[in-house]
Structure formats: structure tokens, C-alpha cells
């Protein structure tokens, strides 16, 4: 157990996970400054090269430096996922709180439509959209947002409905408070903990889906490549276990497992902040 101030402790595992996440965050920001080679340039005649002193993580199917490509890939994987999860959670949580507080017909209609939307499997939706409009960064971000907003809505709505039933909200209503005040002052502070945890989980789902789409060749398009696309490009190296196919996978796993572990090890005070 490690103290992190405010009387909260976090387990060593949680702290290690936070470090891994911070590392990838920094890499995503600083990637162009720290890559040893130009990620698009062929630097070695050997393709699927082994790990050497010059090419720490080997080379890919064209002879490009894998380390540089993975570091740059972090930008796409982390950047797209973060943008999508932020949009999805902002939309979902706002709508969820509004539906819970206003209730009635608005809540019923919104919930029914969103449930219907939720019953389209996410990969399928991605496939159909990409088939229709092609793949580009804005399309990817918006598609991922559209796929994950319903879940965020349902989660936030369920929490907000519980808070909305509490007497302090009733008192505020009896006082004559408006929607904005109720949402901002009474509901949001009491669901922010679980919502943050959900944000993390949803981020993991988005990373996984983005990687999956890229793996199918429907995500980030060449010459750019996120981690999923790196695996797809180099899948030909799989039968002989090339580092070029293993390390992008390791990168994805390290990020997603770290986020999951961090959430599982968050102090109870943060996770259960909705509890009175």
C-alpha cells in the first residue's frame, strides 16, 4: 500500500499500472522527438529483422525500424482512443443525467432509441460505416464515439437515477432549482467516481476495437499505422515469431492491462464515490 494523499492509499500494483499509463501518454505526446529513425523510412535491407543493437525491436516487413513505428503508433492508438472516449463519455454522461433528472417521456424515448442502437454489435457497426464512407481519422473517431456513447449513457443514467431518488435532490427540487443546477451540483459530484472508472474501461474497449478494426485493415490507413495496423502489416512474420508482430501486440496489452489493473486497484473512496 502506498499513500497518495487525502488519506487514500493505492496498492503497489495500482501504482505500477499508473506508471505504465503515464509512460504511454508521454510517448504519445513526445513521439516525434524521441524516435531513433524516421518511422516511414526503410532503414534495413533485412525484413522481419531480429532485435539488434541498431534496431532494438527489430525491423518490419519492409525493413523499417519497429521501435520508431511503435512509438509513433502510440500517437494513433492513444490519441484516437482518447478523443473518442472523451467525446463518448461527455455525450453519454450529459444525456444520461438529463434523462434521469427530467424523466418521463424524454427518458423513455431516449432510452429506447439508445437501447436499439446498443443492439448493433460494435465491430459490425464499424465494418458497415467503413464500408460506406471509407476510413479516415475523423470517421474513425466519430464511429468509435457513436459506438460507445450508448453504453456510457446507460451507465451514467443508471447511476443518476439512483442519486435522483435521494432526498437531497428532492429538497433541491422543492426549493425550485433548475436542471443545470441539479445536474452540476447535486448529481455529477456524486457519480464522478464510477464515471471515471467507466471512462477507463471504455477507453480499453475503444483501444481494443480500434486495434481490431486496424487489424482487419479498416482502421488507420497506410502510410500511418496504429498498433493494430502494425500487427496486421507484419502478420506474415507470425509463423516464425518475428518481433515485428509480437511487440505491437505487447504494447497494446501493456496499455489495456494497465488501465484495467489501475481501475481494479483504485481506492474505494474514488470508485464508490456515489455511495453516501
Amino acid at each position: 500500500m502506498v499513500r497518495i494523499g487525502l488519506g487514500m492509499r493505492i496498492s503497489a500494483l495500482g501504482l505500477a499500472s499508473a506508471v505504465v499509463i503515464a509512460f504511454w501518454g508521454l510517448v504519445a505526446i513526445l513521439a516525434p522527438l524521441i524516435v531513433p529513425y524516421d518511422p516511414g523510412k526503410i532503414v534495413d535491407y533485412d525484413y522481419f529483422g531480429p532485435m539488434t543493437e541498431d534496431f532494438l525491436l527489430g525491423t518490419d516487413y519492409l525493413g523499417r525500424d519497429m521501435l520508431s513505428r511503435i512509438l509513433m503508433g502510440a500517437r494513433y492508438t492513444v490519441g484516437i482512443s482518447l478523443a473518442a472516449v472523451s467525446l463518448a463519455c461527455f455525450l453519454g454522461v450529459t444525456l444520461g443525467m438529463v434523462a434521469a433528472v427530467i424523466g418521463g417521456l424524454l427518458d423513455q424515448v431516449l432510452s429506447r432509441v439508445i437501447d436499439a442502437f446498443n443492439s448493433i454489435p460494435s465491430k459490425l457497426f464499424g465494418l458497415v460505416v467503413v464500408a460506406a464512407v471509407g476510413s479516415s481519422l475523423p470517421v474513425l473517431v466519430l464511429t468509435l464515439t457513436a459506438i460507445y456513447t450508448p453504453g456510457s449513457y446507460r451507465f451514467a443514467r443508471a447511476l443518476a437515477v439512483n442519486i435522483n431518488a435521494m432526498d437531497f435532490v428532492t429538497v433541491a427540487r422543492a426549493r425550485g432549482e433548475g436542471l443545470i443546477y441539479l445536474i452540476r451540483e447535486e448529481i455529477l459530484p456524486n457519480i464522478v467516481g464510477p464515471v471515471l472508472a467507466d471512462f477507463g474501461l471504455r477507453f480499453v474497449f475503444i483501444v481494443l476495437l480500434l486495434s481490431g478494426l486496424s487489424f482487419l485493415g479498416l482502421g488507420v490507413q497506410p502510410p500511418y499505422a496504429d498498433w493494430g495496423a502494425l500487427v496486421q502489416e507484419n502478420i506474415g512474420g507470425l509463423p516464425f515469431g518475428a518481433p515485428a508482430v509480437i511487440f505491437p501486440s505487447v504494447a497494446i496489452a501493456s496499455l489495456t492491462i494497465a488501465v484495467n489493473m489501475l481501475i481494479d486497484n483504485l481506492p474505494r473512496r474514488i470508485r464508490d464515490r456515489s455511495a453516501p
Binding site: F215, A253, I257
Partner: protein, 317 residues
């Protein structure tokens, strides 16, 4: 009381139908109304305007979108799925055999995964906090944290590359013997089983533990019930609804997993067909495949809902 159950089930079915309608509209809208003219794709950039207009009329693309939607929906309901743009074959024919392959893959996976996951989830809950529980929890969190293609590639690396037990590719259809069938099937099934079991184990464990924390389970403990009796007699019957939901939800992950798995193992199923159709922008084929997947998903959710209704003692006579 039984009338009430019947009414609730009918209501669920009504909701499923309504949802299916909304979904079909969404699928149609996304594929039909977004940019990218099909005729130009089919005829290429150099086609004459007359040829384009002729084909448009022949494909009824000059009609209003609403009419086309209704016609398409009517076709879906009667089994007329249209003609593939790319190879001019009936979509129904293209899908038929593939659908059977995918169902076979999903069915075999479910046959392994469901009992395995329920068993592990219930045992983990029963021995909550033990080494067994912690190992299971760590393993499941790892599996749900990685993309399906990584589970698949890991399975290939282990079973095909290092151990050389199984072939990396699978081709349903031309199998000579049962042994060969197993070998062809094994890799996709193993991968999918991992993918869907992890989620199911976690949810099963959580719902059993939730039930164990109720006052009536504490009461049973204070009556002298053993841990095993507590879980099997008191917790499980009440967690049934939640577990059914977990199973349905996990099986719906199967739909996502199948897309990756069929692609990676080159398995001739509907998902592979759909991914190929996306590459060629074969819209009728994409629409039909999408509707099949959504239909399957909704059926699973509906079955889970119905099990939950039937498992609720308050609704029983």
C-alpha cells in the same frame, strides 16, 4: 400470474421486433444514404451517363429512399436478399452455406465455453479470495484486456508454431475424417472460447458474489449451511437471471470475435464473407450480413430476458 409472464414475454418480443426495425433502418441508412455511388463503383469512372442511368433504373436506385427501404425490408422478410453487386449471385445463395459454417463454429464454441465459464465462475465465487480465485481473476482480466487477434495469434504461436499440433488455417468443408475436422476446428474454437469465457467468468462470479452478500444468504449461513450449500441452494437460483444475462452478453461477444477469428484463420463463414464484402463495397451483401448478426444478437438478448423473467420467483404462481 402465468398470464402476467406470458404478457411480459410477448412484450419483450414486441420490443425486439421494434428494435430490429430501428436497426434495419440504421443499417439501410448508413449503407444507402452515405456518399459513394454504387453504380459508378460497378461501372467504373469511364462509364457513359446513359449506361449509368440505365443501370440505376434497373437497380431501382432512382426511386425514393423510403420506397427502397420498404422494398428491401419486404425482401428481407420473405428471404429475398437481393443480388450481390460484385459477382451477380443471389445474396441468399452466397450466405446459406457460410451461415451454416459460422453457426457450427459458434455452436461448438458455446458448447465448450458456457459450461467451462459457469463452472469456473461459480467455483471462483465459492472460494472467493483463495489462490484459485485469484489465478482465475488475473487470467480473465488479462484475456479481456487484449484484442481477439492477440488471443488468436498467441494460439497460433503456441499450438501451430512451437508445438506444431494444429494447422494455422482452417477450411471447413473438405474434411476427410473426424480427426481432421477436430484439427481444423480446434484453433478457432480455442480462440473464441478464451475470448468469450473470460467475460462470462467475471460476470458469473460477480453475480454469485452479489447474491452471497444478501441477508438471506447470511441467514442461511447462520442456520449452519456449508459454503457449498450456500452457493448451490441459496445463491445460484437467485443469480440465475443475472447469469443468463451474462451468458447472452458473452455469446454476443462471440459475434465480434467471430469476425476476427474467421479472418485470421481464413474460416469460410458469414463474418469472413462480410469482411470481404466490405473490401469490395458489396452493399446488398453487407446489409444482409449485418442484419443476420443483429438478429442473432437480439435473439440472445431476448432469450436472456425471458430466462430472467422465468427465474423471478415473484412472477411465479
Amino acid at each position: 400470474m402465468n398470464l402476467l409472464i406470458a404478457r411480459m414475454i410477448l412484450q419483450r418480443m414486441g420490443i425486439v421486433l421494434l428494435t430490429l426495425l430501428i436497426v434495419s433502418f440504421a443499417v439501410f441508412a448508413v449503407t444507402e444514404l452515405l456518399p459513394g455511388d454504387v453504380v459508378e463503383i460497378l461501372l467504373g469512372q469511364s462509364a457513359t451517363p446513359e449506361a449509368v442511368a440505365g443501370l440505376r433504373a434497373a437497380m431501382h436506385l432512382d426511386e425514393p429512399a423510403v420506397i427502397r427501404f420498404v422494398k428491401w425490408l419486404g425482401g428481407l422478410a420473405t428471404g429475398d436478399l437481393g443480388i450481390s453487386y460484385v459477382n451477380k449471385l443471389g445474396v441468399a445463395e452466397l450466405i446459406e452455406g457460410r451461415l451454416f459454417n459460422t453457426l457450427k463454429l459458434g455452436g461448438v464454441t458455446a458448447l465448450f465455453a458456457v459450461p467451462l465459464a459457469l463452472g469456473l465462475g461459480i467455483m471462483a465465487a465459492m472460494f472467493q479470495g483463495s489462490v484459485f480465485d485469484r489465478v482465475v481473476s488475473a487470467a480473465t482480466v488479462t484475456v479481456i484486456s487484449v484484442p481477439e487477434f492477440m488471443v488468436a495469434t498467441a494460439a497460433v504461436l503456441i499450438f501451430a508454431v512451437y508445438l506444431k499440433w494444429l494447422p494455422a488455417l482452417s477450411l471447413a468443408g473438405d474434411v476427410g475424417s473426424i480427426g481432421e475436422l477436430l484439427r481444423n476446428f480446434a484453433m478457432p474454437v480455442i480462440t473464441l472460447t478464451f475470448v468469450i469465457s473470460a467475460q462470462m467468468i467475471r460476470m458469473t462470479r460477480a453475480s454469485v458474489i452479489d447474491t452471497l452478500n444478501t441477508p438471506y444468504c447470511e441467514m442461511a449461513l447462520l442456520k449452519g449451511a456449508s459454503r457449498v450449500r450456500l452457493v448451490l441452494v441459496h445463491a445460484l437460483p437467485n443469480a440465475l437471471g443475472a447469469i443468463a444475462n451474462a451468458v447472452a452478453l458473452s455469446l454476443s461477444y462471440l459475434l465480434g470475435g467471430v469476425i476476427i477469428v474467421e479472418t485470421i484463420f481464413n474460416y469460410p463463414g458469414v463474418a469472413k464473407l462480410m469482411v470481404d464484402a466490405v473490401a469490395t463495397r458489396d452493399l446488398p451483401l453487407i446489409q444482409s450480413c449485418a442484419m443476420i448478426f443483429c438478429f442473432g444478437f437480439l435473439m440472445l438478448i431476448m432469450i436472456a430476458d425471458i430466462v430472467a423473467i422465468l427465474a423471478n420467483p415473484r412472477l411465479r404462481g
